[in-house]
């Protein structure tokens, strides 16, 4: 797998950084964090401690040092490895029961011998399936899990593995800070409640900062938990979002995505799964806010590298053709990872509020580009907002309900 030469896109990112320099849609009043400049200006720990408890402040990082995040391809499941330049490692989830070899051999290949923190987002088998094997195989520092039992043997075996190592479990809840050294700030922003009807909503959600780069890992958090995060006052803005619940329609609510505004979205999902993941609506919502979408079912293991300012991926995002009317229910063919050096510039945050719509200039209906009932005549494309189109006299389509 080829990494995209960074030189090519560094200029784009620089231009982008200048274009959007420090603008923020964050409605939450927070102390503005110190800017990380090229001169290694020190952010004192006092600053990052007191900056806010509702966000992860930017950190000071050494030039050329990279944070590496692997969204491991474990099919219809999640497993994510975070490698910090200071040598600390975090594993979020451990795939299905059958993924033990995939995960342990991948970790060993990356030179991992100790997992400083292991997070089991919630006790479903597609997230904790191989956690017992992982715990038995590596040196483990801390285990973080929401306080929610399962009756499965899979869960019981994980608990037994934790016990056999003489470890205790730290309860996952919003506001928990992870101790991983000064290069990263890591904070759990969910779960915000003590109990939920749906186990997915217990998901531990992690926000991570490295330099000025930000990452959000959503587990299987669904709309109820997403709403709590939106209303909690946490700053949800993130460069990269690990999309909730394998891209299911139960997650990725509009209000949540509007707060996160991810430049990049990663969906961990199995090819041809029986559950219809990811949902077309999720893909449409992400592309409509300008996110580049990466999928493990199309690209295999996805590796993101952050140097504190720029983020590069080892694969090419799935370029959805926004103007092609969808005639079938099947997803477009995967963009084969290629050695192309062009990497389209991400949509600047300043225009992220604009959504691409297709309008019928005669019937005055407006549609999402993915709608099954797009006009073939009197068609025009508009980058606008829903409100503006309604102001202009257009009405939303009844099929795609934009």
């Amino acid at each position: 797998m080829q990494f995209i030469p960074k030189k090519k896109i560094a200029g784009i990112f620089l231009a982008l950084a200048l274009a959007i320099g420090g603008c923020s849609n964050n409605a939450v009043p927070t102390t503005s964090p110190p800017k990380v400049e090229e001169s290694s200006k020190q952010v004192s720990t006092a600053d990052s401690q007191t900056a806010t408890t509702k966000d992860t402040a930017p950190t000071t990082v050494a030039p050329g040092q990279k944070l590496r995040i692997s969204y491991i391809d474990v099919g219809q499941a999640d497993s994510i490895l975070i490698q910090i330049p200071n040598g600390k490692n975090v594993l979020i989830d451990a795939g299905n029961n059958g993924d033990a070899n995939t995960i342990t051999s991948y970790l060993k290949k990356q030179g991992v011998s100790k997992l400083d923190i292991v997070i089991a987002t919630h006790p479903h088998e597609d997230h904790i399936g191989s956690m017992d094997k992982v715990i038995n195989t590596f040196d483990i520092g801390q285990v973080i899990m929401p306080r929610k039992d399962s009756t499965t043997q899979t869960y019981k075996d994980m608990i037994t593995a934790i016990q056999n190592k003489g470890l205790k479990i730290t309860e996952a809840k919003a506001g928990l800070k992870l101790e991983l050294g000064s290069e990263v700030n890591a904070l759990l922003i969910a779960p915000n409640s003590v109990s939920y009807e749906d186990v997915n909503n217990y998901s531990a959600v992690l926000k991570l900062s490295y330099g000025t780069n930000t990452f959000l890992f959503e587990g299987d958090a669904q709309e109820q938990s997403e709403n709590e995060m939106v209303n909690s006052g946490f700053n949800l803005k993130a460069d990269v979002l690990k999309v909730g619940h394998h891209g299911s329609h139960t997650s990725s609510s509009i209000a949540f995505l509007a707060k996160v505004q991810p430049k990049y979205a990663v969906i961990s999902v199995g090819q041809g799964n029986s559950y219809g993941h990811p949902a077309q609506t999720t893909i449409a919502r992400l592309t409509n806010i300008g996110s580049k979408v990466y999928r493990t079912d199309q690209s295999g293991t996805i590796v993101a590298e952050a140097d504190g300012t720029n983020i590069t991926f080892n694969v090419i995002a799935n370029e959805v053709q926004p103007r092609a009317p969808s005639t079938t229910t099947s997803t477009p063919p995967p963009a084969a990872p290629s050695s192309t050096t062009s990497n389209p510039a991400p949509v600047p945050a300043s225009s992220a509020a604009l959504v691409h719509y297709v309008v019928n200039t005669k019937s005055l209906k407006f549609h999402l580009p993915t709608c099954s009932g797009l006009p073939t005549t009197n068609r025009a494309d508009k980058d606008s907002t829903r409100e503006n189109l309604i102001k202009e006299g257009y009405s939303p389509c009844g099929i795609c309900k934009p």
Partner: protein, 70 residues
């Protein structure tokens, strides 16, 4: 052959059988009211809930984890 409902996904219950074998069971094959965490067994073409064993497992697991939290 008993199973434990791990979760629901779309039209399926995802069920863990002996030896941690995972299988999708269509919701239509479950007795109404079967929930996540329930122990189920096949009888008369439908998966019924074994209430006693479900309760026993829940008790056993909470006992196992009660002193695990910091």
């Amino acid at each position: 052959m008993k199973g434990i409902i791990d979760r629901f996904e779309g039209d399926f219950a995802v069920v863990e059988f002996d030896g941690r074998q995972i299988r999708d069971i269509p919701k239509s094959e479950l007795a109404p009211g079967a929930k996540e965490g329930d122990v189920i067994f096949l009888a008369n073409g439908k998966y019924q809930v074994d209430l006693a064993e479900t309760l026993q497992r829940k008790t056993e697991i909470s006992k196992l984890t009660e002193n695990m939290w910091e």
